[in-house]
Symmetry: C2
């Protein structure tokens, strides 16, 4: 099995010269005679030697690789379409530029920062993406200190001195709440994501402020880990409470699908008894009955914008942040005036 990759050592052995001489010859640097150079190049060609990225990296100081560490629990990655769609968008942009993505699942942001330090110190990456920014987040200051190009996939207020690529969740919530208020809803709850994530906190605050502005009830917000199980559990609690909401917004679509099932299991008609809105629109939202009203956005495009921004930073030393389009409300069968 292990027919090994031809190395400079192989060429040196065949040519009967030192590895240093081979290196000089292949890099067209002085130090070997023209005859030796020609002979070394011929042998390199014959045995199929190609420049090693390691050797190239020493010369060009470019890894042609960018990194992404994900600190969500591994089981969640298989469930939420978001990250895989984001990665597919990042890949679309990277692969067009001959750049690879180094991916690692880590258990927490501190471990993630340590890994970024190593990747950067060892020249494995030219830059990284930061997702799921927390408050506080050791990665923001740590990466700024390293001077490593980094794009924060998240709101500018969370990015410190790093470059953000984001979309306006407040605008998306405003559209949704305005629409639900126009349908006649007064009590709109939300089944939210992890409370320590900045984007959850921004959504929580926006929902309170916008609800107040529209004259809606103070919203009940239940935090979860984004799983269908917790989405179902939160929905059961909301439906069973004395002040049952007439509409629920979910921070992802797997929880909204779970919420729909719970509502049906508890004998409620969706949308007559309960309207449901899913954040992030995937095939899931469309294949259930009724299909779900959703906050739809082009997640692969979001990933591409993040990748384009990071590659610009790597090339030019800096790049402006980028605000992507806000999610667009797509009404389907899961929302209606309350009965």
């Amino acid at each position: 099995m292990s027919k090994h990759r031809p190395t400079i050592a192989d060429i040196a052995r065949r040519a009967g010269v030192s590895k240093v001489a081979v290196s000089y010859a292949l890099n067209d640097r002085p130090g070997v005679s023209p005859a030796t150079r020609a002979s070394i190049k011929a042998i390199a060609q014959e045995i199929g030697w190609r420049p090693n990225s390691a050797a190239r990296a020493l010369t060009h100081a470019r890894a042609d690789t960018v990194g992404l560490a994900l600190s969500r629990p591994a089981r969640m990655l298989g469930v939420e379409p978001f990250f895989m769609e984001l990665i597919s968008g990042i890949e679309t942009e990277l692969s067009a530029r001959g750049c690879a993505l180094l991916l690692q699942v880590v258990t927490d942001p501190a471990q993630e920062l340590e890994m970024y330090r190593r990747w950067w110190g060892e020249g494995r990456v030219d830059g990284v993406f930061l997702a799921d920014v927390r408050s506080p987040d050791p990665r923001i200051g740590g990466i700024a200190e390293l001077g490593m190009p980094a794009v924060v996939i998240g709101h500018p207020s969370a990015a410190g001195t790093l470059t953000p690529v984001w979309s306006d969740d407040s605008a998306a919530l405003r559209d949704t709440l305005t629409y639900l208020a126009a349908l006649g809803h007064r009590s709109v709850a939300r089944v939210a994501g992890l409370p320590e994530l900045i984007h959850t906190q921004l959504r929580d605050r926006a929902q309170r402020e916008i609800s107040a502005g529209l004259g809606l009830d103070e919203p009940v917000v239940v935090h979860t880990d984004y799983s269908g199980e917790e989405g179902a559990h939160a929905t059961r609690r909301l439906i069973s409470s004395a002040t049952r909401p007439t509409a629920v917004i979910y921070d992802n679509d797997i929880m909204a699908v779970a919420g729909l099932s719970v509502a049906q299991e508890m004998g409620l008609d969706v949308p007559a008894d309960l309207s449901l809105v899913a954040w992030d629109d995937s095939q899931l939202s469309r294949v259930v009955r009724p299909p779900l009203t959703a906050l739809s956005r082009d997640i692969p495009a979001y990933g591409s914008h993040a990748a384009r921004t990071l590659l610009a930073m790597v090339a030019d030393g800096s790049a402006p942040g980028f605000e992507d389009a806000a999610a667009r409300l797509v009404p389907r069968g899961s929302t209606a005036p309350p009965r």
Copy 2:
């Protein structure tokens, strides 16, 4: 922003010596005086220099990185939990060994092979995973020719001379069909995946043979691209046909969820009028009503086994293939005797 990574050149400049001298000193090789060596090491420490993976790779000939290229359409990656769960399992094993995963989305197996050639030639990876093997598949012979360590995530019959990690889909189908036959079903259709994939072909053949052995009707198999849309479309066709099946097996769970919605939309009761079985059990299968009977397997563990096998190949030059446990049938509310 671009405070650059400290390099050997920086140390050389500060120490007033050549880069070669710095390299000798840092690698504890003869050629510099003890005093110079000490001074160089002190400067290296002071400016925070760490060995570059490029330099290390030249010495150790290990990239400490393995590759995975996915040639499914990008949009499918966001939908099917399978790949993200597989990747999370691969990551679990790799990160424990300080090894990273280089991930790339490609448009076809030929482009994928070309990329593997480049990765291998440039020393970017120590080995690769091959998924979704086709018939014929240019990657199998191409990679064998390169002599690059590779693990085929798929049946041995598809792996050529490469090392396979697989589970027995025939056994899983036998359990499922035997169970459905015991419930009294005679007409069991399947909404299958891409027809050019070896594992689809193996399932197709197994279903025909096992159905014949159990005295069931010749199965109708509809091939799709694994999307919810095609799963819904295939289900509509099956339900509308003159010889409507009483049970349908789906090759993934998003199609099964879509099929459930179509059955309900067409006024059929699941499971009384139509029993449904999902292949690959995710949260989706459990959050819909009725919850889906599913062929459940530990996909992260499957990924871990593949990673362990590949790392053993990289370390030892070869490794035996590994047969993972077959998917286990978990009956839930979507299967019952036919009305």
